[in-house]
């Protein structure tokens, strides 16, 4: 028997709408994690931004995971979830029998059975990761994996959009600060 698909078009519509309706990246990311947890019935979800200088994954949003788990220590990009810095998703279908975790004991204590780490790409380079955490072992269907990859691409685009919006707001702030006296004809 094949693996059941969990993500259908309704879920996809719901989460992409949450992305398109927000111009604040943190609220958008939080809504996305809430909706993925609520619709897929999984334990938790988190969105990380990759810091290439510190080689750490910085949490942008998370849902369903305890404060202790999210603050367990730095998430190192070259050690966490089988070095999930590549362009390919990493699926840990059984946390107990897998040695690719940076904090295996914390994952077990948190009640995590499986982790799917999907890279967020921008211009062909990884800039972050979308991670889904399940209570039990998890076999993700090829179709669900495709959906999650597509979703992570949309998150990457939303990140660029909000970054550009921040830049525009900074420029507007700088222009607003220009005193009219400086613009008088000489």
């Amino acid at each position: 028997m094949g693996i059941e698909d969990k993500i259908d078009i309704d879920i996809f519509k719901l989460v992409t709408r949450a992305i398109s309706e927000s111009n604040n990246i943190v609220i958008m990311a939080n809504h996305l994690t809430q909706l993925l947890v609520g619709t897929l019935g999984i334990k938790g979800c988190a969105i990380f931004i990759l810091n290439p200088e510190l080689k750490e994954l910085e949490a942008l949003a998370s849902f369903g995971l305890s404060i202790d788990y999210m603050t367990k220590g730095p998430v190192l990009s070259d050690k966490s979830v089988g070095s999930a810095l590549g362009k390919e998703p990493v699926i840990i279908r059984d946390v107990i029998n897998d040695d690719r975790l940076q904090y295996p004991e914390d994952a077990k204590k948190e009640g995590i059975g499986a982790i799917a780490s999907i890279p967020i790409m921008l211009y062909g380079k990884p800039v972050g990761a979308l991670r889904l955490y399940h209570h039990e072992t998890w076999d993700i269907s090829g179709r669900d994996l495709d959906s999650l990859l597509l979703l992570s691409e949309i998150i990457g685009l939303a990140m660029v959009y909000t970054r550009n919006l921040n830049v525009l707001q900074s420029i507007k702030g700088a222009i607003d600060d220009v005193h009219p006296i400086w613009l008088k004809d000489r």
């Binding site: 949450a18 809430q34 947890v37 810091n51 910085e58």
Partner: protein, 154 residues
């Protein structure tokens, strides 16, 4: 009424702990100081719940989502408890846990203005990259407020 009202945005990170330790070291012995811890949560988005199996599933999971938000509030209460255990009296420590409607900087600025806080304790992790996408909290706060002291614990 206390002469010094301190607002401390708190988000459970190691740097928030450092900021809390700074508050304890610096203000616990002063009687005339009030501390308010501040944290926001993102409310579950409003959803058009039509009768599809997926929407039904989401609806049944809403209580789980709400439970997780309550756990976040418990974390804030734990931080408050830490202040109480380290010399602050109960009447001097408060917390605000409210839904987030805008970015955190805007929430902090609005609260500081509305409730007349005269000191804000922020924290900043050096080299953090997510500011690139989210904007920098302390530069927004410093630029928006006047007659307010802003401490940054790094």
């Amino acid at each position: 009424m206390s002469s010094q009202k301190i607002l401390a945005p708190y988000n459970f990170t190691a740097y928030d702990q450092k900021a809390l330790d700074f508050i304890i070291r610096t203000f616990a012995h002063l009687e005339d100081v009030e501390i308010t811890l501040f944290n926001t949560y993102t409310p579950v988005p409003e959803i058009d719940v039509r009768a599809t199996p997926m929407m039904e599933k989401l609806k049944s999971n809403i209580s789980f989502l709400s439970q997780k938000i309550k756990e976040q509030e418990e974390g804030l209460k734990t931080a408050k408890q830490k202040l109480l255990q380290n010399g602050f009296s109960a009447s001097r420590v408060h917390y605000i846990f409210q839904p987030r409607k805008k970015d955190v900087a805007a929430e902090v600025i609005a609260l500081a203005k509305n409730q007349n806080f005269n000191l804000i304790v922020l924290n900043s992790k050096p080299g953090k990259l997510s500011h690139f996408f989210t904007g920098n909290l302390f530069s927004k706060v410093i630029n928006a407020l006047k007659d307010t002291t802003v401490c940054v614990v790094s």
